[in-house]
């Protein structure tokens, strides 16, 4: 066992974990943050477990919890602030960007990182950005629309133009 200190969604946690525990299990089972999902066995392809590690989208199933010692993790539970849903979360609902919702947390985490770096993406860029997240329900059409509309809203919000 190792004792690790991790900041998750702004809260500091000191927890004792087995060395082999995956970060995704630490989040889901130790911290009961079950919004982060598991969709692969070992391959780390589906992206449902995507979280932010120090602000960057990474797959929490391809990391050990001990590797996150000293770092900050944000999960889908940490996206919305006191002022409510983020524009991205709102857009996913408004544009029906989710059906079963299983892949959604990972997509929101990846796309929130993506939009921070690509504020005005083309649809092609959004689709490329989504390669690390498999969705089985939506055919991606409404996901792309939701990301595009969230980007627009965020740009207009940033420039003070009202939506």
């Amino acid at each position: 066992m190792k004792t690790i200190t991790v900041t998750v969604n702004g809260t500091d946690y000191e927890e004792s974990v087995p060395e082999r525990m995956l970060l995704v299990d630490f989040l889901r089972e130790k911290l009961a943050l079950t919004g982060t999902h598991v969709g692969c066995t070992y391959e780390g392809v589906c992206g449902a477990c995507t979280v932010h590690l120090d602000g960057e989208a990474v797959k929490s199933c391809l990391m050990l919890a001990v590797q996150a010692d000293g770092h900050a993790v944000t999960t889908v539970e940490g996206l919305a602030g006191a002022d409510g849903l983020t524009p991205l979360q709102r857009a996913f609902s408004n544009h029906h960007g989710l059906q079963c919702g299983f892949c959604t947390p990972g997509i929101l985490m990846n796309m929130s990182d993506f939009l921070a770096r690509h504020p005005d993406p083309s649809d092609e860029e959004i689709r490329e950005g989504l390669v690390g997240n498999l969705c089985r329900c939506t055919g991606y059409v409404h996901i792309v629309r939701a990301v595009r509309e969230a980007a627009r809203e965020m740009r207009e919000g940033a420039s003070g133009v009202s939506a």
Binding site: K2, E19, Y42
Partner: protein, 293 residues
């Protein structure tokens, strides 16, 4: 699946500490973890069953791209995202960006490292073939304080095999002198976007004063034998002006000379066809980049 039991997790802050950590275990029992995007797959599937993980994340000295004189070093822990986003990697090194910007996906590129990839040397990976084609040199440090440089040609020994000894750590991939008038390019094909390469082709050409190819290096990924040079194509490109006919002839020469295999992603014939079509496209790009360099 979950990793088999791990007894110890170490996070050294210097190369020396990292190497010392290994010494406490029998060969193979302690594993270096860089970005972990391949190694964690192997650990979770229990193909690797390390007793100890030596996490290299704190070795800041191994991170980043530095230019020194005519040369350049890419620290072993430099991530794909950093390589993909470095515009100074152009001309002779542009293939590094071609490859890094399409490895896996955004999440993988945010963690995966060039050093992890070349030391793992998986057959269906991009970086080993790129480093091989670009003629990089791999700088290794040993536990006894020794250090050595190994040319890429001598480093990649076959699938999952490299010249790195268990008690060595890769410091960086370096080029002491970047050839002028050179251009490189890399492309791969997989069933879906940015998938592991079923075939990948990397080409580096150096032009002489007339704009003809003075030297070429070609390397392939995705073949059963692991990343490999394609000497038949290199010879065929040398001396040409990079016109369509000579490129096609060179790619035919490669396709006819390498051994390709059949699996669920592609049969042997189609792999040869991919070598021709991807090879022609990247060779054209490499020539264009060389002319612009």
């Amino acid at each position: 699946m979950f990793p088999s039991p791990i007894e110890d997790y170490l996070r050294p802050s210097t190369v020396a500490e990292a190497l010392a950590a290994l010494e406490r275990y029998e060969e193979g029992e302690a594993v270096f973890l860089a970005g972990g995007q391949s190694a964690m797959q192997a650990i979770k599937s229990r193909m690797l069953r390390p007793r100890c993980i030596v996490d290299l994340q704190d070795l800041g000295e191994l991170r980043g791209i530095t230019r020194a004189g005519e040369g350049l070093r890419i620290g072993a822990l430099t991530r794909y995202v950093e390589i993909a986003n470095d515009p100074s990697l152009d001309g002779a090194l542009a293939a590094l960006r071609d490859a890094a910007s399409h490895v896996g996906d955004r999440q993988v590129r945010n963690r995966g490292t060039i050093g992890g990839s070349v030391c793992w040397n998986y057959v269906a990976s991009c970086m080993p073939a790129v480093v091989l084609a670009l003629g990089g040199t791999l700088a290794l440090a040993g536990a006894d304080g020794s250090s050595r440089e190994v040319a890429a040609d001598d480093f990649f020994l076959g699938p999952l095999e490299t010249a790195r000894r268990e008690d060595e750590i890769l410091l960086d991939v370096r080029w002491s002198r970047l050839a002028a008038q050179s251009g490189s390019a890399y492309r791969k094909w997989g069933l879906v976007r940015d998938a592991l390469p079923v075939v990948g082709v990397c080409v580096l050409v150096t032009l002489n004063g007339d704009g003809n190819c003075a030297a070429a290096r070609v390397a392939l990924s995705g073949l059963a034998g692991g990343c490999q040079r394609a000497p038949a194509g290199e010879a065929a490109l040398t001396g040409t002006a990079g016109d369509a006919a000579s490129i096609a002839a060179a790619m035919d020469a490669i396709a006819d000379s390498v051994e390709t295999h059949s699996d669920q992603s592609a049969d042997a014939d189609y792999r040869r066809q991919l070598i021709r079509s991807l090879g022609a496209a990247v060779t054209r790009t490499a020539f264009e980049r060389a002319r612009a360099a």
